[in-house]
């Protein structure tokens, strides 16, 4: 029987958060290969860090039952107009959660 790996109680930490609240970030467009939780509609779009939430397992690891590595998660806020050019209202925003690996500084 293949080994099933239950989650460890205290995985290693991810270190310092790379981004802080207010930073402008762009969502990366990494390959879709077997698993992804990063929505198409936010990829390549610039948003603002609204909160540094917590450190948790890397989704691409956890989805295949690998544990031990953590990364920082953020709430990112986007202008609706940046997501949908035809959106009619300037001030509306939408927030979504993203792990650090999927974000890069917007000025890059």
């Amino acid at each position: 029987m293949p080994e099933s790996k239950p989650l460890k109680q205290s995985p290693s930490t991810a270190g310092q958060a790379r981004f802080k609240v207010g930073d402008r970030v762009r969502v990366k467009d990494l390959p879709n290969l077997f698993y992804s939780r990063t929505q198409m509609y936010v990829r390549g779009v610039v948003g603002t860090i609204a909160a540094c939430t917590y450190q948790d397992l890397i989704p691409e690891d956890e989805a295949f039952n690998r544990d031990g590595r953590l990364e920082q998660y953020y709430i990112v806020r986007f202008r609706q107009k940046d997501l949908w050019p035809e959106y009619p209202f300037d001030n509306d925003t939408v927030q979504t959660e993203s792990p650090e690996r999927w974000l890069e500084p917007a000025d890059k």
Binding site: P2, F34, E62, A63, F64, L83, W84
Partner: protein, 141 residues
């Protein structure tokens, strides 16, 4: 026991629910990047896609749905899988036809069965024979 004509009808239904890709696909010799990307797109990432207006109704969970939920959670507590693996199996791995065609908890229980077979907790033959046994028991009632 299904008749030949039942099976023929079944085969027609299987053909009819193939994903409508708008372009006939038949083991392409070459697949360009946009088409490759479309094939690899996770079925559950539907945000922003065009769709026909749908009717959504409030609905109480049925007993089999609650049983499915509990079964999947218990498998998690025992360390057999975690919630992200469950999402991967029930959202990504089933493909478009099953993702869009099955009820929410239908995908969960199918993903759980596949996981138990993949990890050798049960054998496929064991599962097939058990399902056949239960079906025949119900048929006799």
């Amino acid at each position: 026991m299904a008749t030949r004509s039942d099976l023929r009808q079944q085969q027609e239904l299987i053909g009819a629910i193939q994903p409508a890709l708008h372009v006939p696909q038949n083991w392409n010799y070459e697949v360009g990047n946009p088409l490759y990307r479309a094939y690899m797109h996770p079925p559950h990432d539907v945000g922003g896609q065009f769709d026909a207006p749908g009717v959504y109704e409030e609905k109480e969970e049925e007993q089999w749905e609650l049983n499915t939920y509990v079964t999947c959670e218990v498998l998690g507590w025992r360390g057999v899988w975690n919630s992200e693996e469950r999402r991967r199996r029930a959202d990504n791995d089933l493909g478009y036809a099953l993702y869009l065609g099955l009820p929410y908890y239908g995908r969960w229980i199918l993903a759980a069965a596949r996981m138990l077979v993949d990890k050798n907790h049960i054998s496929l033959v064991e599962l097939m024979e058990k399902i056949a046994e239960v079906k025949s028991r119900y048929a006799r009632k």
